[in-house]
Amino acid sequence: MKKAPLIILILFGVTLLYFTSWLPNLGELQSLQHRERSPIGSQVAAAYYIKFAGQDAASPNVVTVILADYRSFDTLGEIIVILTAGIVCCLILRKNL
């Protein structure tokens, strides 16, 4: 009975390693998510971000520009989620508000 979890774990690890070998290499231009055009021919957003993030916001970190500029609505929502969590903790757990 004790061997079943171990066998499942090993099988899971082998499966993960097998499918990891299918991943594209870092920075490979021909992989699907790094192409400029999708297979249908429309423009891919990621290629735009990588190309123009440095010019649009004068900062070399693409991740920051995406998080706080292109997708700042998303970050605003995250802040509101955190604020709600804090307020709810305060309302439930604090005895003397």
Partner: protein, 146 residues
Amino acid sequence: MTSSSNNPILIIASRLLTPFIQLFALYVIVHGHYGPGGGFQGGAMLAASIIFLRLSLGTEISQRIFKKTWGIPLGILGAIVFFSTGLLTLVFGGTFLEFNELALPGLSKAELHFYGILVVEIGVSIAVMSILISIFDDLSGESDCD
């Protein structure tokens, strides 16, 4: 309500380490444009430094650096800093959070985006820091049922 530790090594080490943790957190926030980092990470590190003081020095003494009642108001302040930059761009005639519409003299549109991102990150870091500390205080506060 965490009580003060009796271990002098822990107390002195926490008092020595905390300013450096906070300084590195500020570096992470401000350096978010050029390297890994940003508001969430820096705010979490600021919160970690103060929670470290809460755990080692106890709740009463560490009130001097961050009071228990500041948590929720400062979190709301951080969200307001974020939101008001978006409202300012609306006032100047752009869409919400379109930083290049801010009419500050002497700055190009890319630089306006740069400083807009900086203000947004500062708001995020204030909110994350104070909310994390507030949740820690709430979770640790009522355990001894005074």
